[in-house]
């Protein structure tokens, strides 16, 4: 094995413990093993060949969570941790082991594109006004109870019919994903957050936005070109001067 590992494979349980922050602080003297039972942390201290990877994780200044729900009760979550020592990423399927990759900061955009499932999508013909919906519909779409998710998906498909019959049909056939990105990072002004949500189908994309109504927020979905998703995703990340600030304060 090489001296420095740029990959760490964990059991689902071990990954869950890591992702929920159990090993963030060396003083908690926690223990972590890789999938093959080799020590990653012993008494909170990183073990060879994982020192670099663990250090990159512990010095992270930003986290991006990417959720992709299929509207049938299945979902997967992608993780990106980013800081002065590089970018760590993991794609967690519903079960099975989880592979964490450690790469240079340069990789962060490619990692994000792949975890978001971004790609070329057609722009459908738009026949009506943006869809108005309740925020709970998006929550139900991502529900792990298949009946709840499917009911929300049927409801969404019905609504989508009035703006894009092509997208509505893809949604009805279960040919869709609700993709959400949530980001959080450390800045001179304290913790900052960002995020965006869209419905991805092979027929095109519905991008989520909110509008201030008199007393509440109105949730809208409307067809968008796929390049706009890339803009929204990048806008939800810390800007270059924040990265400079991390380096100055690390």
């Amino acid at each position: 094995m090489s001296e420095t590992a740029d990959e760490l494979i964990l059991t689902p349980e071990a990954f869950h413990a890591l992702a929920s922050g159990e090993h963030d602080d060396p003083d908690t003297a926690s223990t972590l093993e890789d999938e093959q039972g080799r020590p990653v942390l012993a008494a909170g201290q990183a073990q060879a060949p994982y020192e670099g990877l663990v250090s990159a994780y512990r010095t992270k200044r930003a986290m991006f969570l990417i959720d992709r729900a299929d509207g049938r009760g299945q979902s997967r979550r992608g993780y990106v941790w980013w800081g002065p020592e590089g970018c760590l990423s993991a794609d967690q399927p519903d079960d099975g082991s989880v592979r964490i990759k450690w790469e240079s900061s340069v990789a962060r955009f490619r990692v994000l594109i792949d975890l978001l499932g971004l790609g070329d999508r057609p722009v459908p013909e738009v026949v009506g006004d943006p869809i108005q919906l309740k925020a709970t519909m998006l929550e139900q779409l991502a529900d792990d109870e298949p009946q709840t998710a499917t009911a929300a998906r049927t409801d969404l498909s019905d609504k989508a019919m009035s703006i894009s019959p092509d997208i509505a049909q893809s949604i009805a056939e279960g040919n869709m994903e609700m993709v959400s990105l949530v980001s959080e990072w450390d800045s001179p002004q304290g913790n900052q957050t960002g995020g965006t949500v869209w419905i991805d189908t092979p027929s095109g994309v519905l991008l989520h936005s909110t509008e201030r109504a008199l007393l509440r927020q109105r949730h809208l979905l409307e067809p968008a070109p796929s390049w706009l998703l890339w803009s929204r995703a990048v806008e939800a990340l810390p800007s270059p001067d924040i990265f400079d600030w991390w380096n100055e304060t690390s």
Binding site: V106, G119, P122, P240
Partner: protein
């Protein structure tokens, strides 16, 4: 006719081959200088937008093999220039030889007299500043067909 920001430099040394480059004097993220590449060529035939799109799709595997971490984000119809000419737009992400992640926005339009491509490239980290500028620059391209 292309209006670039006043501080940009302009290189027309490739004019004989129909290639023009405009370059920002300032380096942005990773020291990369955002730039516009305009090419003009006499097309063999006039193509419909669907055919043009098909031609561009045919180039994807080559782009993928030539560019590091190339990811296509959009390849579909759009508009280009002051007269809203039908065009194919490509948006893609890649990393250059200096390790700077970049976003490329390219419009290709074919008219009777010429096939024109307009490519604006900038560091992805600076995208929030550049994405609106990209649309404005592409919309401001003016056609000047000869006779």
């Amino acid at each position: 006719m292309l209006r670039t920001p006043p501080t940009w430099s302009f290189d027309s040394s490739g004019a004989d081959e129909g290639v023009f480059v405009a370059l920002d004097e300032d380096g942005w993220a990773g020291g990369f200088r955002p730039n516009i590449l305009v090419t003009q060529a006499a097309p063999e035939e006039v193509l419909s937008l669907d055919h043009l799109l098909e031609t561009q799709r045919g180039l994807e595997s080559e782009l993928e093999s030539q560019m590091t971490d190339y990811r296509l984000l959009y390849l579909w119809g759009d508009r280009l220039g002051t007269d809203d000419s039908q065009a194919v737009r490509r948006t893609a992400s890649y990393t250059n030889h200096d390790g700077v992640p970049l976003t490329l926005n390219q419009w290709i339009a074919r008219r009777i007299a010429a096939e024109v491509s307009f490519t604006l490239t900038f560091p992805t980290a600076d995208l929030p500043v550049w994405s609106d500028a990209a649309l404005m620059l592409a919309a401001g391209l003016a056609w000047k067909d000869r006779g």
